[in-house]
């Protein structure tokens, strides 16, 4: 097990910067999830850790040792590829045992070890099949098994569970979680599934357009998103963002937007700085912090109902403030609402997030 560090890493493909000036360090035994929209540079970052791609500039360290130009075979890492990359001419046993073959383990021992891992991932009965003879989810588990079959310094996972059904995914997730606690594996894990990231990660790195926007613990990312991008990306459904105009009055902050009534907020220096730059701010409220307003509520948003989706225990109530500026609430009552009804949603001041006109979080709110 080892730490991983990026120092000002840039990777360009021609004129296009897939990863631009990324620096971070991952401690020994940490499980870091990379979260971000498609094409933001997650796979490229993993490939640079693996040595399959050389950074255009910057340095990469594994276990404190510089590996920027080291060949992949000399890094002692394990990787699950986004496209599995199973060897089509080898059966599952040989596929999974291949890293052990390279390490000159005797045949019987490596097959026994491969079977052990395969059994845990419930593909032990398929060891004689070729990759083309098993399902997509089974292929994915084979690829996962091949990465876990040998002890590596760092494990890199590129969406390793994306093709599994909900139950298998939960099981595999539990298995990875157990492995991480058990052997203290250092892992970098790319996923599109926030629940997975929240469940597995000790820290989450949210990426956007080749940059790391926020690198923090799951709870921190949920509670204090650094930018509107993170706020809008994390959460299911994501945070509601309402553009507002802020003014200072009576030493307090007044916010204005169509259909919004909100009690004046306490002024802070940070808010003052943001206001001095621009009066257009963004107000954020998570759907789970919105409810149907009771009469006399202080903080409300009112607009016609756009959709009411019943999800079982809860409903997603969406109102449309015009120009597709929609606000969604997760509510746990089953009030009857009709399309076109005007609905008023309420929230409490302690759940308010504020962002300046660049979309950066204004510190001090909701901390």
């Amino acid at each position: 097990m080892a730490s991983v560090e990026f120092k000002n890493v840039i990777k360009s493909f021609g004129d296009f910067k897939a990863v631009s000036d990324v620096s971070f360090s991952i401690g020994d035994g940490e499980f870091v999830c990379l979260l971000g929209p498609s094409g933001c540079g997650k796979t490229t970052s993993l490939r640079m850790m693996a040595g399959l791609e050389t950074p255009t500039s910057g340095q990469i360290y594994i276990g404190g040792e510089e590996v920027t130009h080291l060949h992949p075979k000399d890094r002692n890492i394990a990787m699950v590829f986004q496209d599995y990359a199973l060897y089509p001419h080898m059966n599952l046993a040989d596929n999974i045992a291949y890293p052990l073959k390279v390490r000159s383990e005797p045949l019987a021992r490596r097959h026994a070890r491969a079977k052990e891992v395969a059994d845990v991932l419930k593909i032990g009965h398929l060891m004689d099949r070729l990759p083309s003879q098993i399902s997509g989810g089974q292929q994915q588990r084979t690829s996962l098994a091949r990465a876990l079959v040998y002890p590596a310094k760092v494990y890199l996972f590129d969406e390793p569970l994306s093709n599994l059904d909900a139950k298998l995914r939960l099981e595999a997730r539990g298995f990875l979680n157990h492995l991480q606690r058990d052997m203290g594996m250092t892992a970098v894990y790319v996923t599109h599934d926030q629940a997975e990231a929240m469940a597995l990660a000790t820290r989450i790195a949210v990426m956007d357009q080749g940059r790391i926007v926020q690198f923090a613990s799951p709870i921190e990312i949920y509670r204090r998103p650094a930018t509107t991008f993170v706020a809008n990306f994390v959460g299911n459904p994501p945070m509601n963002l309402v553009p507002v105009t802020g003014t200072k009055g009576d030493g307090k902050l007044q916010l204005k937007a169509d259909g919004l009534t909100i009690a004046a907020l306490l002024m802070t220096d940070a808010i003052g700085t943001a206001l001095a730059a621009s009066s257009s701010l963004t107000l954020g409220v998570r759907p789970e912090h919105l409810g149907i307003a009771t009469p006399g509520a202080a903080n409300t948003i009112t607009a016609p109902l756009f959709a009411n989706e019943n999800m079982g225990p809860e409903s997603l109530v969406t109102i449309d403030r015009g120009d597709t500026a929609r606000v969604t609430a997760r509510i746990f009552t089953d009030d009857h609402l009709d399309l076109g009804d005007t609905v008023t949603l309420a929230f409490s001041a302690e759940h308010v997030h504020l962002f300046d006109h660049h979309g950066n979080r204004i510190p001090g709110t909701n901390d």
């Binding site: 992949p72 075979k73 394990a78 060897y87 390279v102």
Partner: protein, 276 residues
């Protein structure tokens, strides 16, 4: 389905035409199968009468003709090994490395390859081979064919390898394999169908060619079968049809055998345009 009358006659006419064309192609093949067993074979197609294997006995009694088959085999196998291995390594490098201008290299080679094995280059090839002191050797034939066939072989194989995801070798290298190990363990088995195509193609090319060995070889003991067929012409230049037919049949057997072997062992996968 119901045919209207004109459509029905249209189908009839089409089928008759197709049958006629088919027969035109089948007749020479039938002759090719019957004549070797016919004691009095002529250029016309007849049922073997008397049916005999004497033609084959005479052919196998002709040591020059037998030696020629052996020579053909040496030259074809030698050429195939050279073309197959060189094309595989070159195509792999061209596909996987990031050498600038590698596309241009292949296209230029491809352009010149048609010159090398074509008759236009016969004089320079003759001069080069004789300057290299390789005149009248198997090696001369093998090298000339390799020069002519390699670019096309490389081109086909590179296209084939390009269509195979890099991540096979990448995952092998991440797992700890050296590039050479990754090539032999992972890449080579995956590329094999493409190599098989190249092997068959170059074998057929060398086996069937006449001009290059005819020019580069002198002694009877080195001549391949394509040239030796001429020994079954009488002094006056008329073919001895019986022997010629028998020899031709023997001559075509290795090619047929190779096709059968390959399709049995690997299954022919030309992948429509050589893509997986």
């Amino acid at each position: 389905m119901k045919f209207t009358l004109p459509a029905f006659f249209g189908r009839m006419a089409f089928s008759a035409l197709a049958a006629l064309i088919g027969a035109a192609f089948a007749l020479p093949l039938l002759w090719f199968l019957f004549a070797p067993f016919n004691g009095r074979a002529e250029l016309g197609l007849t049922i073997p009468d008397p049916f005999t294997l004497n033609n084959f006995v005479t052919v196998f009694g002709n040591s020059f003709a037998v030696q020629a088959l052996w020579n053909s085999l040496i030259q074809a196998v030698g050429g195939v090994i050279l073309v197959g291995s060189a094309a595989t390594l070159a195509a792999y490098a061209l596909s996987r490395s990031s050498i600038p201008g590698k596309g241009a290299v292949t296209y230029i080679l491809l352009l010149f390859s048609s010159v090398v094995s074509g008759s236009a280059a016969m004089v320079p090839i003759f001069l080069i081979i004789s300057a290299a002191g390789l005149m009248d050797t198997h090696l001369a034939v093998i090298l000339t064919f390799a020069g002519g066939l390699l670019p096309t072989a490389m081109f086909i194989l590179r296209d084939f390898i390009d269509s195979i995801p890099k991540s096979y070798e990448e995952s092998a290298m991440v797992a700890g394999a050296s590039p050479v190990q990754a090539f032999f363990d992972v890449a080579l088995p995956v590329i094999r169908p493409g190599i098989v195509v190249i092997v068959v193609w170059s074998f057929v090319n060398i086996w069937g060619s006449f001009l290059i060995p005819f020019i580069l070889l002198r002694s009877d003991s080195n001549m391949p079968a394509a040239v030796a067929i001429y020994s079954f012409y009488s002094e006056a230049g008329t073919p001895v049809v019986t022997l010629l037919a028998a020899y031709s049949l023997i001559y075509s057997l290795p090619v047929i055998a190779l096709y059968l072997f390959v399709s049995w062992k690997f299954g022919f996968r030309f992948f429509g345009g050589i893509k997986a």
